[in-house]
């Protein structure tokens, strides 16, 4: 069997060489061990190619060209949007979506939720997302919401890839990149705000502890509070995050920091899970995508990976 497969490959290589201008003799010289078997087949192939090297008559070519041009002219032409059309849509779609979200709730907006980038309802979908974002007030909430929108972008990329729509895959990837960048910025803000809050609370806690418990070390910096040492404690265990170790005592003192830390950890968990899930989805799509779409999907994967890694890194507590 191996010989047969080898021979099929050699025959094909010789045919390719002949198409590119090499002679039968040149091919046979490359594979003398197969020359006896190859030669008659290559001659037949050459005769067939010669026979098939036909061209339509010039009068037909001319007539066909004229008919084709006439057919083109009678095609219904998709008119380009008026220059101001897109601006008009942007100006009105957002308030319209807001109105629909607030008044109608479901219905059109619900239908738009599943709209794809090549759908007329996609503008409503984008505007609806903007409205949802506007009505989300905490950075943590905005970050989580953006990551949910990134899930939608990944779904859109997969669907567009399945439809072979290269351009839309690229456009949705660009949109996803922008949203990942937003998540990263939000996460950085969350982390900085948390550090500042912790520093303030440490100060308060230290002052309080100074008055009540001797030996409690106050952190020296606002950005990277060191793990504190409670001399009253006899345990040597060091949890991975100093903030986790602090939580019980801080909760007693502040009644709130541990919740913030937990929120950050939860957000990190959510983002990590979504990253892994979406990465898997895109990699699966890449594996079965035609070559023409692979570069666009590889780009999408790279954008997703870099964006999420940065976003998650920005949440790592100092």
């Amino acid at each position: 069997m191996a010989k047969v497969n080898d021979f099929d490959n050699i025959l094909n290589e010789c045919l390719d060489r002949m198409i590119n201008g090499e002679t039968i003799e040149q091919c046979l010289a490359l594979y003398p061990q197969y020359a006896k078997e190859l030669e008659p087949l290559l001659k037949t192939a050459q005769e067939t190619r010669t026979a098939a090297a036909i061209k339509p008559s010039s009068w037909f070519r001319q007539r066909a060209g004229i008919e084709f041009q006439e057919a083109i002219r009678s095609m219904p032409v998709k008119t380009a949007r008026a220059p101001g059309g897109f601006k008009w849509r942007v100006r009105w779609v957002a308030p319209l979506a807001a109105l629909l979200v607030l008044v109608a709730g479901v219905g059109t907006v619900g239908a738009a939720t599943n709209a794809l980038p090549d759908s007329p309802l996609y503008g409503i979908k984008m505007a609806t997302e903007s409205v949802q974002m506007a009505f989300t007030f905490s950075d943590e909430g905005k970050s989580e919401l953006n990551s949910r929108f990134i899930d939608y972008r990944v779904e859109e990329i997969v669907t567009m890839a399945q439809e072979g729509n290269y351009a839309q895959v690229e456009q949705v990837t660009a949109r996803m990149e922008s949203q990942l960048s937003t998540v990263a910025t939000l996460n950085l803000n969350i982390n900085i705000a948390n550090s500042q809050q912790e520093a303030t609370l440490y100060g308060m806690a230290a002052a309080s502890q100074d008055n009540q418990v001797s030996g409690f070390t106050v952190p020296q910096t606002s950005t990277a509070p060191p793990a504190k040492t409670n001399t009253a404690s006899t345990t040597n265990t060091t949890p991975p995050l100093a903030v986790t170790q602090r939580s019980t005592q801080e909760s007693m003192v502040t009644g709130g920091v541990s919740n913030t830390v937990t929120d950050i950890e939860n957000l990190k968990l959510i983002l990590t899970e979504r990253f892994e899930k979406n990465l898997q989805i895109l990699e699966n799509q890449l594996a079965k995508a035609p070559d023409i779409l692979k570069p666009a999907l590889q780009k999408a994967i790279e954008v997703l990976r870099q964006g999420y890694e940065q976003a998650i890194a920005n949440l790592v507590l100092a």
Partner: protein
């Protein structure tokens, strides 16, 4: 017996005769063509016209019919272009499918009426005009067209796509929805069968 060409599963790149039309350019061209861009439509037409003609002509062996059918393939393509979706299938593969269906229809109709004598209907060879060469090519062409008819549908398809349209093995695999290995094996058996058929004529 002709089969309908199965769905395309392998992506292929069909270029212009000089090979300059790359995948992305073709995608862009098709998008423009779908929007009614006459230049893009003409480019696609020019890039594929001769190949489609040769594909049909070598299958049916009738110049006049091949010309008309080639024209019908492109007119049909214009009408259906808005519904064309890439889905990993190059534009030319879509054209070959239309052409293949035209050939199937042609043979279906032919089976119900008398055929045109081959020597009066064969395509004009693309030779240099030397009468001797023309005669030799015409004879070979007649033999090949007749011999090809003794092959299986799949073997005929490989011969038409590989030697008339001059597609690469990857492209043929894409059009036929088969693996490259399967097409290579099919190509081998097709040439062997063709040789035997030619020898008996």
């Amino acid at each position: 017996m002709h089969r309908v060409t199965p769905n395309i599963v392998v992506p292929i790149t069909i270029g212009t005769p000089d090979g300059s039309c790359q995948v992305q350019e073709e995608v862009s061209l098709i998008r423009r063509a779908q929007q009614g861009d006459q230049v893009a439509l003409t480019q696609l037409y020019e890039a594929n016209f001769d190949r489609i003609y040769r594909y049909i002509a070598i299958k049916i062996g009738d110049r006049t019919e091949a010309e008309d059918m080639t024209q019908q393939v492109f007119l049909h393509a214009i009408k259906s272009l808005s519904g064309y979706r890439e889905k990993g299938m190059p534009f030319s593969s879509w054209l070959y499918r239309i052409a293949h269906n035209q050939v199937v229809d042609y043979f279906r109709k032919q089976s119900k009426r008398a055929t045109v004598p081959l020597d009066e209907s064969l395509p004009i060879p693309a030779g240099d005009g030397d009468p001797k060469i023309l005669v030799e090519q015409k004879i070979t062409m007649e033999e090949v067209v007749v011999a090809t008819k003794t092959l299986t549908a799949a073997q005929q398809e490989v011969i038409s796509l590989r030697f008339a349209s001059e597609l690469s093995i990857t492209e043929v695999a894409g059009v036929m929805g088969k693996s490259e290995g399967a097409v290579k094996a099919l190509q081998h058996s097709a040439i062997v069968a063709l040789r035997k058929a030619l020898a008996t004529e």
